[in-house]
């Protein structure tokens, strides 16, 4: 049936030529590159700004008179908050594709390993390490996930908030993946205690430094401080240290071929989140008006959180001595973390 309400009997592009009948690109923002990416098209300016197009200003305010989004939700300053584009270019479809693929991979690995009785072949001490330390670690990931969930409320643009939201989603997924992984392999191992992880997280002196750091991040009222502390400080100094330089590298030597693929998705998650974070903070430390003030602020955050990270890492040190097979020493792992941290902070001139 032809389109009855159209003067040319069609509603299709090209059915008539008139002013702007070929205007088929969003023309209200400047793309970062030559052409707007799909990510930019579905992201930019969805969160409005009174300094751009919101001519009536925010029309509901908090009791203190502030509108829905304010620049002073962080101490950092920018001459153009809208410049940031997340390098991972994530929007809903790519996010679900990636998360879903990871879930399928992890479930496949766990199911196959269980089918062939792999958990039963774990070194007994290693099995205990999984219950206690990997069990404790899942709470750290959860803490970061909830902290970033909070942070995604405050950013001044849609690009910042969506990058924070996907970061939160990755962290919360990992915390749940570890939880369910441990519960499932626990079905195969006699004497498994699934509650040990939380007890360890709450009470074991080894983990108190890490818990203090996570709670400090969760307690911050500055959303960019939360994002900075997570990806610039915690992840290289503690996250990669524990996940990669302990769990992934030590597991195989102790008969565990399952944990590395379950955990390794987190390393790829972090690469993406790190790229987003570096890009955002790079803009801020090179800002034409506020670079110096931002650098000073970030150095303060760096001092605060690297001190907490040092305390946390030193607290974790005894874990490296616990497995029967010790292919990696804590000092080597920490040196690698320090090198990585130096590279990241070097990128930002901090």
């Amino acid at each position: 049936m032809p389109a009855t309400s159209s003067s040319v009997g069609s509603g299709a592009a090209g059915a008539a030529v008139f002013a702007d009948s070929d205007s088929r690109k969003y023309r209200y923002f400047d793309p970062r590159g030559k052409r707007a990416t799909h990510y930019e098209d579905v992201t930019v300016d969805v969160q409005p700004d009174p300094e751009r197009y919101l001519i009536q200003d925010w029309i509901i305010s908090f009791p203190n008179g502030e509108g829905a989004y304010v620049k002073n939700a962080t101490e950092a300053q920018s001459s153009n908050w809208h410049a940031f584009r997340a390098p991972d270019q994530e929007w809903e479809r790519t996010h679900y594709q990636r998360q879903s693929k990871i879930e399928s991979l992890i479930q496949g690995v766990i199911a196959n390993a269980r089918k062939f009785g792999v958990p039963k072949t774990f070194d007994k001490t290693w099995a205990k390490i999984l219950q206690t330390h990997l069990g404790a670690w899942k709470h750290a990931e959860f803490g970061l996930g909830t902290s970033l969930m909070q942070a995604q409320r405050y950013g001044y643009t849609q690009m910042i908030n969506n990058a924070t939201l996907t970061n939160s989603s990755y962290k919360l997924r990992l915390s749940q993946d570890i939880t369910l992984y441990l519960a499932e392999i626990g079905l195969e191992i006699d004497g498994w205690n699934d509650d040990l992880g939380k007890q360890t997280w709450l009470d074991d002196p080894i983990w108190q430094g890490t818990r203090e750091m996570i709670e400090s991040i969760m307690g911050s009222e500055d959303y960019l401080e939360q994002y900075f502390a997570t990806n610039i400080v915690f992840e290289p100094l503690i996250g990669e240290l524990f996940r990669s330089s302990f769990m992934i590298q030590v597991a195989a030597a102790n008969g565990d071929s399952i944990t590395p693929p379950v955990i390794s998705a987190a390393e790829a998650d972090y690469e993406r989140n790190l790229a987003n974070t570096i890009d955002l903070f790079h803009l801020l430390v090179t800002d034409e008006e506020h670079a110096a003030a931002n650098k000073k602020l970030f150095k303060g955050w760096l001092d605060k959180f690297s001190a907490l990270a040092e305390k946390a890492a030193n607290g974790l040190q005894p874990i490296w001595s616990q497995p029967h097979s010790k292919p990696v020493s804590f000092s080597d792992a920490q040196a690698r973390a320090a090198e990585r941290f130096a590279k990241i902070t070097g990128e930002l001139g901090l």
Binding site: S5, A68, S100
Partner: protein
């Protein structure tokens, strides 16, 4: 057969139950002892009872489920193009999508942001998993809707209006109504906004008209992309409704919450009605070319979804918990939709405002008149001549309907609360806030702005409650400005620098299209500014006139 061999028996593994998985995940949280989480978004509610997560879903099953839903949506969009959907789609319908899809991604992403507020205030960790999924869902909805809009822009006959969509969202006098809706989700008292206004009223009641009724009408107009996207969106809403209900049960547990709950249910219901019914009612009733008398009108659907489903089965049972339900408001909303022709006055207003729209509106015709009269008896007497005038004045060179005294339309005052104008003239009220006069569409709107959004409610301090702010009356921005200059300032001009993006017709030919020259010479005025400048006596006379209404002159 006793010993049937099945693949399942070979491959099945003992697993953990859904309930057990949900329980373990709920145990991921803990009470911090080194540093407390900051309570950055306060509420006047007290929530002590840990809400339950009714859905008990975990991310492991959530992500693949959503990916599968996405695959269906994007597959359907590809199929629509292969099937040449746009050749048959009705421009009358797609034009309204320029307005609808400019608005809706913002409320969606606001809902994502508001999950942070409500999750922080909720005791226990169980429902936080539900809030997490809702946060990611809303991110899905916002970007999938932006994608749909881009898809329309790329494939529909007239992309103008889609191409400035988020700029238009920030500037248009009509999208301001949608901003009131979206900002309501994330500003002010965190529970009022993120729980009552968003999940307990907007999502539980009004998404049915938004995401179920509207897609049906889209399909009737040859648009099967919108139903694919929005029914997929709606399939996520059941989880959000579950989150809202669970929170509601926790709120009810504390008697000191009841007074606030009564306030917020009244505010949220009335404002959702005022905003959602204005917009969605107009899209459905005026964006369609389908005049099948057997199909339900918006009013009939409203009765089914809102009156029967929501009011009778969701709101009414709250009375057994001791919460007063405002029955009269629900009945009044119904009366406005039927007897007082609310939706039709809104459509008329949008048509009068066409030069400052960023989409086209074409005139209603005889075929439409017959359907409207059948579904809304008395419609023709009230609106028939107006739409005849609108058609007559749709040609460049005519005096624009907005300023044409021959028509008899009186430009309305804007409601300070819902931001839809005071279109049911006899119900308009005025009141002062901080010594300044404001206009309201209904007593309930006055109550919302003056009594509910205040630092005290019925003698009780409500320090967390939000305030109405900003330049709420859009007309104030262009008071005394020539219409053509206002359109240039809004950037609602095509890239040739003269042809208007909005047009009062669907004639896709340059010779029929209005330009800046066709609308120049008319001065926009703010009714509120003028009202405030009047003497008391003149103001009383003006208000009496306004409430008496207007008559559209016969159009021959």
């Amino acid at each position: 057969m006793a010993n049937t061999l099945t693949l399942n028996k070979i491959t099945s593994q003992r697993g953990i139950s859904v309930g057990e998985a949900a329980k373990k995940i709920a145990d991921l949280g803990w009470n911090p002892s080194y540093v407390q989480e900051a309570m950055t978004y306060p509420t006047d509610y007290v929530i002590k009872k840990t809400p339950k997560d009714p859905m008990k879903q975990v991310l492991r099953s959530y992500f693949p489920m959503e990916e599968e839903k996405d695959n269906r949506v994007y597959g359907a969009l590809d199929a629509a193009l292969r099937g040449d959907m746009f050749r048959n789609v009705e421009p009358r319908w797609i034009e309204w999508m320029k307005l609808f899809l400019a608005i809706i991604p913002f409320p969606e992403i606001s809902a994502a942001r508001s999950m942070a507020m409500v999750a922080r205030l909720t005791p226990g960790e169980e429902l936080r998993t539900g809030f997490t999924m809702q946060m990611v869902d809303e991110f899905r909805h916002s970007t999938i809707q932006m994608n749909l809009k881009k898809w329309y822009m790329e494939n529909y006959i007239d992309p103008a209006g889609f191409d400035i969509t988020e700029e238009a969202f920030g500037k248009c006098y009509a999208t301001t109504i949608g901003r009131q809706f979206g900002e309501g989700f994330l500003t002010g008292d965190a529970i009022t906004a993120a729980s009552i206004y968003l999940t307990i009223v907007a999502e539980t009641a009004f998404t049915n008209t938004l995401f179920v009724a509207m897609p049906s009408e889209a399909a009737r107009n040859g648009d099967y992309a919108l139903p694919t996207v929005f029914l997929s969106v709606q399939s996520d809403e059941s989880r959000h409704i579950g989150n809202g209900h669970s929170m509601l049960m926790s709120m009810l547990k504390e008697p000191e919450n009841h007074q606030l709950l009564e306030r917020d249910m009244k505010y949220a219901f009335w404002q959702n009605h005022a905003i959602v019914d204005a917009a969605i009612g107009t899209f459905i009733e005026y964006g369609t070319t389908n005049r099948d008398k057997e199909k339900e009108s918006y009013a009939e659907m409203w009765h089914r979804w809102i009156f029967e489903d929501y009011y009778r089965t969701y709101m009414l049972p709250l009375e057994k918990y001791g919460v007063k339900i405002h029955h009269d408001d629900v009945h009044e909303a119904w009366k406005r939709i039927t007897e007082k022709m609310y939706v039709h006055t809104v459509a008329q207003f949008f048509a009068v405002g066409w030069p400052v729209n960023f989409w086209r509106i074409e005139a209603q015709t005889d075929k439409d008149f017959e359907w409207f009269e059948h579904k809304y008896p008395g419609w023709y007497a009230k609106f028939g001549d107006f739409w005849k005038w609108y058609e007559k004045l749709s040609y460049p060179g005519q005096k624009v309907v907005t300023f044409n005294e021959e028509v008899g339309y009186v430009y309305p005052h804007r409601c300070w609360s819902c931001l839809v104008p005071c279109l049911i003239r006899e119900d308009m009220v005025v009141d002062e806030i901080d010594g300044k006069l404001h206009t309201f569409a209904h007593e309930n709107d006055r109550w919302t702005a003056v009594e509910a959004f205040a630092d005290e409610y019925q003698g009780r301090p409500t320090p967390a409650m939000g305030r109405f702010s900003g330049k709420r009356e859009w007309e104030t921005l262009y008071h005394g400005v020539d219409l053509a200059d206002a359109i240039v300032d809004l950037n609602f001009v095509r890239s040739d620098g003269k042809t208007l993006i909005p047009q009062p017709h669907l004639r896709f030919d340059d010779k029929d299209m209005w330009t800046l020259d066709d609308v120049r010479g008319h001065t926009l005025l703010s009714p509120l500014t003028i009202l405030r400048e009047m003497s008391d006596e003149d103001r009383e006379a003006h208000l009496a006139d306004y409430r008496a209404g207007f008559t559209i002159n016969p159009c021959n």
